[in-house]
């Protein structure tokens, strides 16, 4: 099977709707089929990978922990909109330290998260075979 470039756009916060968790499920399925997967976090989607989420009060699974598994699934291109962070008073330091081990570089741990401008995200989107918006 030919490898396609899949990008998943996450535009909504984690809880309150099923979009965030459904997106993550689809991402993991696509990764199991060895596709080239990247994720973008735009608008309220940036809240999905914020550090220190706690779902005790709402009785839901804290699936933010699952983002830490993405490196094992060789999903290591997570683009975060700089503008969306700034509009919400957030910075790169508020995000979870998501990493992967680089097979081609002696398994050195590297960050999977890249904060980029919306213009850069558009450029990356234009190079994809498929974009899914959640």
């Amino acid at each position: 099977m030919a490898i396609k470039k899949f990008m998943y756009l996450n535009r909504r916060s984690s809880f309150g709707t099923v979009y965030a968790i459904e997106s993550l499920e689809v991402v993991l399925v696509a990764a199991a089929f060895d596709q080239d997967v990247s994720l973008a976090f735009i608008d309220d989607g940036v809240y999905q990978i914020i550090e220190g989420q706690n779902t005790n009060g709402i009785g839901m699974k804290n699936f933010s922990k699952t983002f830490h598994a993405l490196g094992d699934y060789e999903i290591n291109k997570l683009y975060v909109s700089a503008e969306s962070l700034e509009e919400r008073g957030l910075s790169a330091d508020d995000l979870m330290p998501l990493v992967y081990e680089d097979e081609d570089d002696n398994w050195v741990e590297k960050s999977s998260v890249k904060v980029v401008s919306n213009a850069e995200i558009s450029k990356i989107m234009s190079k994809q075979d498929v974009c899914f918006s959640f």
């Binding site: 499920e25 699952t66 094992d72």
Partner: protein, 107 residues
């Protein structure tokens, strides 16, 4: 709905409520599959449970194999060894015994 030692399971035998899991349930599931659980099986089952605790997902078999290789060495982190323990698939059967949901992406 079917049950194992009083714990409800779905049509494929996975626990509905993950909190129902016990070692006895794992033993019973294995017995129903004609598998007798050795220390090697428990190593993998315990690993799967720890993985789920940390990441809230059941790992895909490729990820499981790699993670076991890292933790327990290449002689155990390969699909031949893992399939010898869990003939119906280390992901599918292993996760079922471990009381986890079916791995995401598992068909």
């Amino acid at each position: 709905m079917a049950d194992i030692l009083g714990a409800k399971v779905d049509e494929e035998g996975f626990l509905i409520d993950l909190g129902d899991w016990s070692k006895e349930i794992a033993e019973q599931m294995a017995k129903d599959d004609d598998v007798s659980l050795s220390e090697e099986h428990w190593d993998v089952i315990n690993f799967l449970r720890e993985y789920f605790e940390e990441y809230q997902i059941a790992p895909a078999v490729r990820v499981l194999t790699k993670a076991i290789a890292k933790r327990m060495g290449k002689d155990k982190g390969n699909s031949k060894y893992l399939y010898s323990l869990f003939p119906y698939g280390p992901g599918k059967q292993g996760c079922r015994f471990a009381g986890l949901p079916k791995p995401t992406g598992c068909i």
